[in-house]
Symmetry: D2
Subunit: 352 residues, 4 copies
C-alpha cells in the first residue's frame, strides 16, 4: 500500500471519524490503553491527555500503561480519568514514564503483554513513540491487537508524517542555545560548533541552523562537505569581517563533532577563528511544549482515540500537507528522508 | 482565478523559481524594494532578511523602504546589504519601521509613490503586511508595478495562506500568559477572562485556548454562545471541582470582554467563581520570533525575491497545505474564515 | 523594639538556629502548620517546600492548611510529607491555595481558627503572605499562638525585608513585557504606557523601568510629576530622534493610567508620539519562579521552620542587607517606603 | 587597606559620590574610557551603557575601547554617545567585544596601552571583567592611570562583592536546563550529571542545585565526598522511590565529571539508576540579561563613572550586604570563597 498519501487519498484524513461513520460502522470499543515508549520528548503529555479526553468523550474508558512496553509486561496499568490528566498539558516529559524494553522484543515478552491487555480488558492500544516503539506496535497489530501509533520523537525520522510531536519544542530549545552562543561567539570573535540531537536525521540541525542564522549546517543527508571545505568556510567568514561563525552539526553526521573540532583547531592559524564546541544534549528532550506541539499532539491524540473507536488498526496517525493522515505502521518505520532539497538549497543561500 | 490552491494546482508551488525557469523566462530584474506596512508583528525582520539575501544571491540590489507606504511617498529609501540585515534575525518588530498611511489611499499619494519607485530605479516591490497593506499592493500592481505580497500579521485573517508570519510567536506569547494566569487562578479558585488580539479573526483565541487548556474560547466565527451559557459553564466547572476556569476571548467577539465580565460578575453567587479580566494587548506583537516564524518568514521572503526575479506580480506568496503557494492579491484580501470546523469541534471536546 | 536590624543586631541572623542553640534552649515543638494567604505570587511553592523539608529534618511533622485563614477556620488541614512537596519547586502559584478571609477578621473566626490549631495539635504556624496576612499572624501571636511570618507578595511593600518573595519573578515578567512592547513601539514610532502591579508601592514599576530602559517611571512615592511634564518629556524624546517612548506606571500612582492616557492623547499633536496603553495585570503573579526567588524562598522558609523549632514567635523572617533577619510583625506591617533615593536619582539619569 | 568591608567601613558605600562631594573635591575629569576584558557574560552591555550615560551626565566624554586590552594596545578606540548605547540593554555579550591579551602582560604591551590612553586624552578607565582583567587594571593603576574595576564574570570568584555581574542570568540559564533535564530524567527513571561553569568556584553549581531541587551539588569548596558516597546516594534516592536523581557538578570539582560518570556507570547495577551526562557549556555565557543583572550592572556601572569623576582609582566597585562598596583591586583578585557554610548546610537539608 505504501504511504497512503498519494495513491489512496480516500484512505486519508479520517479526522473526527466518529462524526462521519454511520452507527453500524462503529465498533463500540469499551476500553482502550495508552502508553509512551522509547526516547521521551516534549508534547507526550498533551498527547496522552487528548487520547484520554477524546476516549472518554466517545464513551470509552482509558487505561494508562506505565513505562512503555516494560510496564505492559509488568502489568503497571491503571485507569486515567479527566482529573488524571488535569494540569499536565504544560509539563515536559511523560507522566506515564517511558522505557526501552528488551523483554518485549522476545516472543515471551510479547505473549505476556498480550495476556495483560486481555486481563485488563483493553481492546485497543495507542502507542506514542519513535521508530522502535512503532515497530513494537506493528508486532502487536500482527498478533491481532487493535493498535494505533502516534509519532512522538524529537528526531523527526518517521515516515507518514511531515513532523513529529516534540520537534517544534526541541527546535526552539536549540534556537535559544544558538542565540545565546552567538552572543558569546560575537563577543570573542570565535567560531562555535553546536551539536544537536536527531539520530540519523539532520532535520533539527538544519532547521536550527536556518532559524538561528548559523553559517553552516552539517547533516547526515548531505555529508559531502569535506573538513577542508568547512575550514575554508571559516576563513571566508572571517575575511568578510563577521565576528562569529556558528556551525550546527547533527549528531548523526560523520565524521562527527569531535573530529571536526580537532581538524579546525589544527587549522586555527589559517582560519582566523578559534573554535569551541557545545553538545546540547538532553535539554533538547525537556521543557514545556510549545503551542505548536501542544496543538499537534492534541489533534493527533484525539484522532488516535477516534480511529480506535472506529475499529482502525495497524496505522500511525500523522500530519501530512497540513492535514491529519493515516499511514500503515509498516511504511512508517522504513528509512525516510525528511530533508527537502529546496530547504537545503535555501539554507545554503541564507548561510552566506 | 481565485485562490489558486484548488482549481489550478499548476500555478502553485513555484518555489525556487529561479532554478526552474529557463534563461529566456527570466526577467533579469536589477533592483527591487521591500517595505513593511500596517500593524507589526514578530517575524518581519527574518522576512526582510530573506528578501535581501535571496535578492542579492540572484544578482539584484535590494532597497529598504522605511515606514511602509508613508516612507515610499516621502522617499525614505536606502540600499540594504548583507551587513544591513546581519543580527536582525532574532529581533522583534521591523527594523524598517512600519505605519498606516492615509496619504497612500489618495491618487496623489499613489502617484508620488510611483514616482519614487521610478526615481530609485526600483523595478519590483515586496510588500509585507496584512489586509490593508496588501490592498495597497494590489493598487500598485494595477498601475503596472511588479508587486509581490507577503502575509505579515499576527491576526491570521488573510486568504491564500494557512498561517501568516507572526502567528506562531504571538500564540506562544498568549500561551505563556495563559499558563501564568492559570497559576494565579488556581491559587485563588478564580475564573479569568483573557482577551487576545486578532481583529475579526478568532484564530489566536481558539488556538491559544486549545494549547493552554482553557475551559472556553469565545470567537467571532462562533458567537452563538449566550452570556447565560457562559455563566452556566462556569457553574458547571465549579461544581465538577476544578480550581480555576479560563475563558479566552478574541477581541472581535461580540458583545465583548467588558460586557462578559459585567454579566459574569453579576452572576457571581450562582457560579462559584469570582471573575477577573486581563487584556493581553501589544505584548502579542513583540518578542523574538519563534523557530517556526523565522523559518516560515525565511521561506516566504526568499520565495518573494525569486518570484519578482522571475517576473511574477500581483500575487501573495503564502503557505498552503505545507507548501509555498501563490494566490492573486485580489483573492487574498477578501474576507476569509481560518477556523476549521474540525478544530472547533475538537476544542469543544478538549475543553471539558 | 522596631526593626531589629540597627539597634539590636544580636537578635538578628538567627539562621540555622537549631545548630546554634544548646539543647536546653530548644522547645522541641512536635508539629507545625503552614499556610499561604492573601494575593498569590511566584515563589510560594518553594517556600512551603522549604518549611516542610526543614521541619521534617528537625523532627517535626508539618501540616498544610489550605486556602489560608479560611481553610484554617474550615479545618482543611492535612499532613505534608517530603513527597507532598516533590515537583512543586518550579510551579507558579501555591499548591495550598490562598484566599482573603473576611471571617478571620472577626473574633468568632479567630476563635475557630485557634480551636482548629488545637484540634490538629499544631503548636506553631508559618504564615506566608503580605500585609493583611501578617496582620492576621500578629493577631494569632497576641492570642498566644507561636507564629512566624514570611514575606510572600510581589508588591514589595513590607517592612523587615529588602525584598519579598515573588518580586524577582514578577520583575522579569514585567521586563519581558517591556522588551516586547518596545519592539512594537519602535516599529511604529509610538509611546506606550505600561501599568504594573504593586498596590501603593512603586518598586515594580521603578525597577521594571530601570531594567527595561524605559524613558520614565511614574510611582506613588514620587508623584510630583505633572501630566504636562510627562507630555513635555514625550516631546523631548521625540525631538531627540528616538523611535519609541516607554512610560512604566505603578498601579498606585495618581491620577492613574487612564487619566494619563487621556491627557497625552489630547496632546498628541504637540508630542509627536501617538500613545497606547497596556495593563499587564495578573500575568505578573504567575510563572515558574526565577532562581533568585526559589533561593530566597528556600532560605526564608527553612529559617522559619527553624525559628519555630527554637520557640520564636511574633516575628517575620526577612532579608536585610544580604542576610536573614527577624523583625517583629507589628513593625513589618507599618507603612514602609522601599524606594531608595539613590535608585530614584539613578533612574532619572538613566532615563535620558 | 585591604578589602574595606570589615576593617574600614568608613571607606565604603561611596554611592553617588558626585552628589556628596563638595565642588573642590571634584577632579573635573573630562574624558574616560571603558573596556570589557576576559571571558564574557550577560550584563556587560547594560554595564557599559551605565558608564556612558552617567559619564555623559557628569559632563565627561566616554571612549569605548574594543576587544579589551588588545584593543587598547591596537588603538581601537572611539567615542560612545547616548545613541551608541541605545538598544543594547537587553542584548547578551558585549558590543565592545572582549579578549584575553597576552601582549598586555608584557611591559612593552602596557607601555603601548599607556601611550594610547594618553594619545586619546583618556584620563580615567573603567575595566569590566574577572580576575585576570582586574589584575591588569591594578597594573595600570600602579603606573598612575586612574582605574576603576567592575566585576563582570559569571564565575562569582572575586573578592569585594557578594555577586558579580552575569551570575543571575547564568543561574537562570542553568535552572532552565536543570528543569528540562529533570523532565526527561523523570520520564526515564534516570540519574543525570549536569556540569556547570564557574572555574574554581562552586557558586553556580551549588545555587543551581538549590534552585533546581537537585539531589546533590559537587563543588570544589567541598570536595570531601567520595565517588562511593555519590553512588550510595543514588542508591538511596532510588530506594526511596524517586523517579530521577540530578547531580550538579561544578567544572572545578575534582576528580571531574568524566571520572564521576565512569564510576557511576560501573556501579549501575547497585544504584538502580542509569546515568547520563550533560555539559552545559557556553550557553551559560549568553542570553538577554535578567532584571537583576541589568539593575546590578546599571548601578555598578554608574557608580564607576562617578568614582572616576570623583578622582578615585585602584578600586573595584562591588555589591556587599545590599550596598555599593569599594574594595582595593589588590584585595579583589586574591583567592576568595563565595560559598557560605550556612547555604551549604541548607543545600544538604533540601537535597533530601
Amino acid at each position: 500500500m505504501g504511504r497512503v498519501a498519494r495513491p489512496a487519498p480516500q484512505a486519508r484524513a479520517r479526522l473526527l471519524i466518529s462524526c462521519l461513520l454511520t452507527s453500524e460502522e462503529r465498533i463500540h470499543m469499551k476500553r482502550i490503553g495508552v502508553l509512551t515508549s522509547g526516547g521521551d520528548g516534549p508534547g507526550l503529555n498533551p498527547c496522552i491527555r487528548a487520547v484520554v479526553r477524546m476516549g472518554i468523550h466517545l464513551g470509552m474508558s482509558v487505561m494508562g500503561i506505565r513505562r512503555g512496553y516494560a510496564g505492559l509486561i509488568a502489568g503497571e496499568i491503571e485507569e486515567l480519568t479527566l482529573r488524571s490528566v488535569g494540569g499536565i498539558l504544560g509539563r515536559g516529559g511523560t507522566f506515564l514514564s517511558t522505557s526501552r524494553s528488551a523483554e518485549f522484543t522476545t516472543p515471551q515478552g510479547q505473549l505476556t503483554a498480550l495476556r495483560n491487555l486481555h486481563r485488563f480488558d483493553i481492546e485497543g492500544l495507542v502507542v506514542i513513540g519513535g521508530n522502535g516503539s512503532l515497530t513494537g506496535a506493528q508486532k502487536l497489530h500482527e498478533q491481532g491487537v487493535k493498535v494505533i501509533g502516534l509519532p512522538g520523537t524529537i528526531d523527526n525520522d518517521l515516515g507518514g508524517t511531515d513532523i513529529t510531536i516534540g520537534v517544534d519544542t526541541a527546535l526552539n530549545t536549540i534556537l535559544d542555545a544558538v542565540d545565546k552562543i552567538k552572543d558569546t561567539a560575537s563577543s570573542h570573535n570565535r567560531a562555535f560548533i553546536i551539536e544537536t540531537m536527531g539520530r540519523n536525521c539532520g532535520y533539527l540541525a538544519l532547521m536550527g541552523a536556518l532559524a538561528g542564522g548559523a553559517e553552516l549546517a552539517l547533516i547526515p543527508e548531505n555529508n559531502d562537505i569535506s573538513l577542508e571545505a568547512v575550514s575554508n568556510l571559516l576563513k571566508d567568514v572571517y575575511v568578510r569581517g563577521k565576528n562569529h561563525c556558528i556551525i550546527v552539526v547533527a549528531e548523526g553526521w560523520k565524521p562527527g563533532t569531535a573530529a571536526l573540532a580537532a581538524y579546525l583547531n589544527a587549522q586555527k592559524e589559517q582560519q582566523g577563528f578559534e573554535v569551541r564546541t557545545t553538545v546540547l544534549g538532553h535539554v533538547q528532550r525537556g521543557g514545556s511544549p510549545t503551542a505548536y506541539d501542544r496543538i499537534l499532539a492534541t489533534r493527533l491524540g484525539a484522532a488516535a482515540a477516534e480511529a480506535l473507536y472506529a475499529g482502525r488498526s495497524g496505522v500511525m496517525i500523522g500530519w501530512i500537507d497540513g492535514k491529519i493522515a493515516e499511514t500503515p505502521l509498516e511504511e512508517v518505520i522504513k528509512p525516510t528522508n525528511k530533508i527537502k532539497p529546496d530547504v537545503l538549497r535555501l539554507a545554503r543561500v541564507m548561510e552566506r
